[in-house]
């Protein structure tokens, strides 16, 4: 029997939610514990929990204080949250097409310059990565990825852009991202994908789940246009491959 893991901090987020915090920093081990707790609570629901929201380093647990109080909920969560991690199960894996550079990735050249290399080399490093969806947040389908090549870590832009296009593929700090809807962003824009991680009348509405694996492959801008039309018509576009 493996020893239990150190307990997370239970931080009150108002009277109807608790933040179960495993780390204060971006930390893949903490994220694994977040996703494991999320899964465990889905498999064996605690009466009173209404919704869970995984993030990089914490699981936000919404609950109904008429059904369970803060202390009682904490007592039920802690033993589950300190269990040794279960063996890694097969994750879904998505191959996401990206049109790099030009109008679709206006920061690609600047990123290459800043890192003393060529745009093609940046594309090779970005498509060479094996990523995990650490969390989805901010706006619908915005998938935050861990696993960015260390040589691509760079701080975010000094001044965020007020609007960046739907489908933007970007990097910021030590993270990579797939953005679905047009939104403000301070990240560096490398390209765009025709894939919609969120599309209202499609089944499934949301493509990615926290814990999914992701790789990118480059497409030319003409292919982007074709795929974009197909995606608009409701096709998934992203390829799901066996893990």
């Amino acid at each position: 029997m493996a020893a239990t893991l150190p307990p997370p901090r239970l931080l009150p987020s108002g009277d109807s939610a608790v933040t179960v915090e495993f780390s204060r920093t971006i930390d893949d081990d903490a994220n694994q514990r977040v996703l494991a707790l999320d899964k465990a609570l889905a498999a064996n629901p605690i009466d009173g929990i209404t919704e869970t929201v995984p993030t990089y380093r914490s699981l936000l647990v919404h609950y109904d204080p008429e059904k369970i109080g803060f202390d009682a909920l904490g007592e039920k969560i802690l033993p589950i949250a300190t269990r040794p991690l279960p063996p890694v199960t097969k994750a879904r894996r998505w191959r996401i097409p990206v049109a790099y550079g030009g109008e679709h990735g206006i920061d690609l050249e600047d990123v290459a310059k800043a890192l003393n290399t060529t745009p093609d080399d940046i594309i090779a490093r970005h498509t060479g990565g094996d990523y995990k969806v650490a969390m989805i947040g901010f706006t619908p389908g915005w998938s935050y990825l861990s696993g960015l090549d260390k040589s691509l870590h760079m701080s975010r832009r000094q001044s965020p852009r007020l609007l960046t296009p739907a489908g933007t593929i970007s990097i910021g700090g030590i993270q990579a991202g797939i953005q679905c809807l047009a939104a403000p962003s301070g990240w560096h824009l490398l390209g765009r994908t025709p894939v919609r991680t969120y599309q209202l009348h499609r089944n499934p509405t949301f493509l990615t789940e926290p814990g999914d694996r992701v790789t990118f492959f480059a497409i030319d801008h003409k292919t982007f246009e074709e795929m974009d039309r197909a995606a608009e018509a409701g096709e998934l576009i992203a390829e799901q491959v066996a893990a």
Partner: protein
């Protein structure tokens, strides 16, 4: 079927209900009514479920016309002048609009959002169990955007049920209660004290995503960047400039600024109805008190049907209602015995609400 046509309407008006739960893990925020108690009161008056879809009307005026038959409606929330063909309509009552009649609502007085509920509720195509408008995500039904003049709802014909009023408890007037956390340890005692002991005003640049606060700058212990984590309705985050933002119903589901405190569930609607520019304070309460208040709030909503009264037991004192409204005070429904002006909080005034929250 009858129709209710939006003859005129100001910005920040949309269809809202109890909100969209269960998809925050995909970045989809909850939306829903800014003032849940008022939504529930209006719905209860016309026999709907408390969190059925209704029209959330922003601070400006609006008018609605019945077509192809009569429509039974009710209004609750931020008080305003209301009339049908010149005959005043009281807040917190139901009323039936005959075919071709128009309900005209003035500016909000002493609040921001008024709820217009329709007998049989607004019909549409629920997405994730909700008709609530979330314009950014293209969600909401029958219109996935704020309402415009000319929009219309297909609604049940008026049932002819007797008109009702609802007796709501007097709104609380004290400080907005908060629970410290989840990141109160990102602030030292002096700055936590500054947050709790200062007077705040809501900035006019606020909206359904967040209420920006004007007051002293709150300083962080370790800078303003934390690793993004989850948010709730009422999360109070402190960005780099030190001006707190209370996250409201259209908030991002995650955020990267430290959250010093969280408004308790029972007080979120009261904060939502605080007009821009009005001074108010926060007060920290214990988890036990916050959860007790949350349970009482849930019980209050369940008890609303017991608070319905026949509206013809009260003779409307039109003159007094009109005088009080002209004077700019909020008048409680149809409590003809007292004609009581809603109690004003000591330190606050209620200006004409031209400003949006």
């Amino acid at each position: 079927m009858s129709r209710l046509v939006v003859a005129s309407i100001g910005p920040a008006s949309s269809v809202q209900d109890g909100g969209r739960l269960g998809a925050q893990r995909y970045g989809l925020t909850v939306s829903g009514a800014m003032d849940r108690l008022s939504l529930a009161a209006a719905n209860t008056l016309v026999g709907n479920e408390p969190f059925a879809a209704a029209v959330e009307i922003g601070p400006f005026g609006a008018s609605f016309t019945a077509r192809d038959g009569a429509v039974r409606i009710a209004i609750s929330g931020a008080p305003r002048n209301a009339d049908i063909a010149g005959n005043p309509v009281a807040m917190d009552t139901s009323v039936t609009l005959k075919d071709d009649e128009t309900l005209t609502l003035g500016f909000a007085r002493g609040g921001a959002f008024t709820y217009l509920a329709i007998e049989g509720a607004i019909k549409g195509e629920p997405m994730f169990g909700s008709l609530a408008v979330n314009a950014r995500a293209g969600l909401g039904s029958p219109y996935p955007r704020p309402l415009q003049a000319g929009d219309e709802f297909t609604v049940d014909p008026a049932s002819g049920a007797p008109e009702l009023r609802i007796e709501l408890p007097k709104p609380a007037t004290g400080p907005i209660r908060v629970l410290l956390g989840p990141q109160d340890d990102e602030f030292d005692e002096a700055n936590k004290g500054l947050f709790l002991d200062s007077e705040w005003k809501i900035s006019a640049t606020s909206d359904r995503m967040g209420y920006r606060l004007e007051g002293p700058a709150i300083k962080h212990l370790h800078g303003h960047n934390i690793v993004s984590d989850g948010t709730v309705n009422g999360s109070i985050q402190v960005p780099g400039n030190g001006a707190p933002i209370v996250l409201m119903m259209d908030r991002g589901t995650s955020g990267g600024y430290p959250k010093i405190a969280t408004v308790i569930t029972a007080d979120v609607g009261r904060l939502a109805q605080t007009p821009a520019g009005t001074a108010f304070r926060f007060k920290a309460v214990s988890m036990a008190e916050a959860q007790d208040e949350a349970r009482k709030f849930a019980q209050l909503i369940r008890s609303l049907p017991d608070r319905l009264r026949s509206s013809d037991t009260v003779a409307l004192n039109i003159e007094a209602l009109s005088d009080a409204n002209v004077a700019g005070y909020a008048v409680s429904a149809v409590d003809a015995g007292t004609w009581q002006v809603t109690a004003e909080p000591e330190a606050t005034t209620r200006p004409e609400a031209e400003s949006t929250p």
